[in-house]
Symmetry: D2
Subunit: 388 residues, 4 copies
Amino acid sequence: MLRYKPNYVPGPTNVRENVRLAMAREVSNPDIDHEFIPYYEEVCKKMGKIMGTENEVIILAGEGILALEAAIASLTEPGDRVLVLDNGLYGNGFKDFVSMYGGEPVVLSFDDRNEIPVEEVRNFLEKDHDFKYATIVHCDTPTTVLNDVSTICPLLKEYGILSVVDSVSGMVGEPIDVDKNQIDICCAGSQKAISAPTGLAMVSVSEDAKHAMKDRKTPIASFYANILVFEGYKEKGILPYTMPVNLIEALDVALDNILNEGLENVYARHAKIARAVRKAVEAYGLKQYIQSGFSNTVTGVVVPKEIGAIRLQQHIQETYNLYLSTSHGQYEDVILRIGHMGENAYVDQVLAVLNVIDQGLRDLGFEGNRNLAQLFVEALIEGRIDTA
Amino acid sequence: MLRYKPNYVPGPTNVRENVRLAMAREVSNPDIDHEFIPYYEEVCKKMGKIMGTENEVIILAGEGILALEAAIASLTEPGDRVLVLDNGLYGNGFKDFVSMYGGEPVVLSFDDRNEIPVEEVRNFLEKDHDFKYATIVHCDTPTTVLNDVSTICPLLKEYGILSVVDSVSGMVGEPIDVDKNQIDICCAGSQKAISAPTGLAMVSVSEDAKHAMKDRKTPIASFYANILVFEGYKEKGILPYTMPVNLIEALDVALDNILNEGLENVYARHAKIARAVRKAVEAYGLKQYIQSGFSNTVTGVVVPKEIGAIRLQQHIQETYNLYLSTSHGQYEDVILRIGHMGENAYVDQVLAVLNVIDQGLRDLGFEGNRNLAQLFVEALIEGRIDTA
Amino acid sequence: MLRYKPNYVPGPTNVRENVRLAMAREVSNPDIDHEFIPYYEEVCKKMGKIMGTENEVIILAGEGILALEAAIASLTEPGDRVLVLDNGLYGNGFKDFVSMYGGEPVVLSFDDRNEIPVEEVRNFLEKDHDFKYATIVHCDTPTTVLNDVSTICPLLKEYGILSVVDSVSGMVGEPIDVDKNQIDICCAGSQKAISAPTGLAMVSVSEDAKHAMKDRKTPIASFYANILVFEGYKEKGILPYTMPVNLIEALDVALDNILNEGLENVYARHAKIARAVRKAVEAYGLKQYIQSGFSNTVTGVVVPKEIGAIRLQQHIQETYNLYLSTSHGQYEDVILRIGHMGENAYVDQVLAVLNVIDQGLRDLGFEGNRNLAQLFVEALIEGRIDTA
Amino acid sequence: MLRYKPNYVPGPTNVRENVRLAMAREVSNPDIDHEFIPYYEEVCKKMGKIMGTENEVIILAGEGILALEAAIASLTEPGDRVLVLDNGLYGNGFKDFVSMYGGEPVVLSFDDRNEIPVEEVRNFLEKDHDFKYATIVHCDTPTTVLNDVSTICPLLKEYGILSVVDSVSGMVGEPIDVDKNQIDICCAGSQKAISAPTGLAMVSVSEDAKHAMKDRKTPIASFYANILVFEGYKEKGILPYTMPVNLIEALDVALDNILNEGLENVYARHAKIARAVRKAVEAYGLKQYIQSGFSNTVTGVVVPKEIGAIRLQQHIQETYNLYLSTSHGQYEDVILRIGHMGENAYVDQVLAVLNVIDQGLRDLGFEGNRNLAQLFVEALIEGRIDTA
């Protein structure tokens, strides 16, 4: 048994008690209970509601990254040209999946401190648009930048380019609107803003994407990352492998928590908190890493160089027993990330975390303008505080 | 929420209460808690103890079949010749994975009513042994036949052929002894005789197997099914993706349940029950499908043709609210399977199930010699009854 | 931690998983949450529905016996004459409570093998009816006899005598119909046929009973067993002590389980099983202790003298690891009790238990006519089997 | 189901997850499992360890107040003179229990803003010491005053007067040392600093107290509040009623939590937090109600008259969704109570609560000297912060 440690990072997030207790229930046998497939479909449709889509949604037994690999594995044939839109670590990383499955990634890179400039994409596409599909990251968590899928994806559609969107860390924090935004494959994971336990990956698949998969000349070079093995499961009455029922029951309750609160209320809660965190950080005298494309799920704060993000994180961990996270790669010693997503997006939690960050910075010699938590409360109050 | 239905099949098995309650606990964050990696390793080693190996064991976030795919994906390079030993549905199925990853499967098929005849394998190998590796299913559940990995795998080793053993349904019901039997990759799933929730796949990997993976000329054509992405995770301090901690904590408790009972006791419990079920079935006047290679985890009973396995199963489901399972493919209407593995291998459960099967057969016109449950109890008593 | 042991006795009964998981929830603070008192009242009213009454129902924080003491303590003034109807151990035991609180118990005793003969009570009352109240046990569990409260209580009412009914073990197994039967105080406990955890005692209190309490000349000589300390709690907005919320939430779910199944269905389930157990026992060649007044919650079987109930119970415990219960006092070595109440009243459980009893008797030299479990199934089938 | 509401009051306190999950376990049958009585005794002895006593400890199935009534009911005979030491609401309240059971309470009242002055008690006793026993409240929660049982109880012993101490709210927050302090009956409840669910009352009983109970001329006028009904339960192998096993298993885990942390560490944690809260309150510009006898389990803050404790509490409840508690009786609109006991005595919780109180006071027009939470942190740091 691993000892629990208080933590506050951009996922995995806290899992609400009713979700955890749902996992403790004795579950039915998914291979033999004829009610399981309708139930599975029902949970998939709930997931679709949260994604804003009527497309088929599939829940895969695996971590979020399996959703990305499944999208790429199912679409890519050897030689396919794929446009990789990149303004961050995850954006760039898509190219490796593309190559792995025999595709030719064309990486279009942008400044990592701003959201992808849609006009530049448009200009590029005017000249070169012979791509089977393009990949976009909704929220690139290492830098916390959010890309505007509502303009990029329809633009791709104009050129007949399918879109694969990684919204693992973006979804629920703000609308993803898969149908409205004409996203062909949207990828999600259970442990981020959905606040279910880690272990499930979800994809929505448009008819266009399905056609592309079915029209392949070569077979999909994977079973576990093959979206088509789920094709027609309802009619056939069989799923490709034994489903992790406990996790699916947990996901079901987590989705209910969101839908019962109301999607609009959930978005508003994220927006309110994110806005106040950003205001507080700036008023305190610190900077965010990014200059545009602020996500409502996470804030990336540049830690003063003389302190360093790693040292701050370790100091807070050792002194205040709170586990925070810096970032990855070149950002590791630069950015401290405050992940206010899903069940972590409540005022009392943010308050406690900001208090500790304030104290930790002070201990290491940085004096902010007033108390960071107090500034956060004041920013909240400007509108109206609502701690629920 | 899916309504629970009483069921008794060869997996997923019952999950003990302490395993289920472990899942309800608030878990630590595996990405940020520095104690997670040592904990993960500890659970992997416990798994190794149950497999009887000092080889590295890796727990993958996926259903049992991911273990099979990971073994094949990681070993197979285009053009590799692979020996597929086949005396059942799962045995035969390995050839598809081999082809999918570019290998050339050579299928050596045997009678499906008997364990693989080792002498015939030996004769075959004398003539042709140019294989990178061979695949063997330990217990092929559709027919319930158990293969003797303790002679087959060392034989393969003599010829320098790596072995990949699917022991998803065999393990824990009887010793698998990976090291003693020189098994290179042994595959397991959480939901069979281990009696943890579905969602984890486990592989043990020998040094020979690792060398084969590292000496490849082509990269492994998968991320999620790539065993090498775990290579050196302890030293690097990072795992390839966020681990499903709740499932791993549950697995940990399930493994403790087994080790606390004592592996020898667990094997003895399975053996005692399996023997008594087989005796009872025969004394009752029914036949098993197989003639040799009886597994201690499951018994396959041939249902009289005039009744049919499907009709019997449906009758019992509708009349007695007990969900049993027939088999797959050509066996579907032939075999009723009684899965006495893991937490399902206790006298009281088997007793109740046999009572119902007895009644169900009687209802449909088959009169056995005396009561099936009573026969089971008598077979148990011949030695000594021990219901615990 | 106490190791769980399989048991099957007339209470405490099994507690369903949803009831147990409800107890694991983080609960609100009953002293400070203004929604608690309405919630408490709601659960009390649900309890009233099960009792068949519009009278006020109070849930006390204590074991079932507290309900009995509270009834007696609240009604009895020094010198009060109280009629104690007695055809069993618990019936007789009421006299001690009456004396303890200064009353004068008049014990009217009857044969312990039959329900109380109402005509004899009527004859007695014609001659002597100067009683403040009378006590009756609904189901006297040591002998398993059930008394007909539907004729006794209205009869008492004719004479202006209040009735205190102990239905701790009878309720839910058959209708108690408090209002129809004019029962003034009806006592219940959480752990019998209601199948909630032990720790709550419930009383329904009629207006007549309340008047009697309020018209006392002496104060009630207890706080914890004083029903009147709950008087007006809704208006005052305060309960006499901190309520055990976890237990109340558990009771709430247990009551929902009953009401969702439907009271009539619950009664039918008990009746069907009880009838079949009784038939099977007789056909097997054993006798019940009682000759009339059969309860649907428990069956008392006379164990052959040469074996003895205690020896049978111990043999079964040691050999089959099943904990059964004999009886109390003079019945201890005579009666084996099969408690089929609440969550213990399902076919599969009774089947397993009867199988073990059959085997245990056989081991000790008693040969019944055929298998006891089989006889039970046949008795069930005569109507129609329904195992749910 | 009652919706959970965040709250922070002097009990019931938070119940740790492992305690709550222990309640969800399927429990053994306490009436029939021969291991239950040894287990019950083991938990009683753990409770004794926490009380600092070798005396017999009894766990009663009821709320904490049952412990007080049981002490008084078991000791008091009609006509007994009892000394009631009173410097608060609960202290004074003991006289009603004494009268209820026929005793003659002699109330010795002191200033409610200070601990009981031992010298005055000594002076009084010199003149009048003909008392069977005396009652003392350890921590009188309405005012938060703590009395020095370490001098009062030995003093009573000098005069041959038995002592009954209500330590329901004091225990665990500071040592009670029953044996060292010669306390004859010490009363506790599960839901205060022990942080187990509500529903269990505990008493330790000295040999002197037992003699007094056994030497009575009149029987104890209660069953449920009679300590003697537990006499010899181990030898007899039977307890007076069915024990609430789920609650006892929960208590067991809660006691383990305390003992695993180490009693000294638990006391230190309470002391550190209590000291810092008191310092912060004073530095902020508010006063405590009491002037001496500060308890480590709760702090009573006088709310400025122009605001009023009730208004402050309601404002915070409505605006910040945090349920706090004022006090009782004449203190209700005067004192806001901050209950830092048991699982509520952790830095992060106090921090969050003080933040909200600070904000609430500010909203209603009171400007403290700086931020209350910040002052608390600074007071902690003077020594060394330790948030665990």
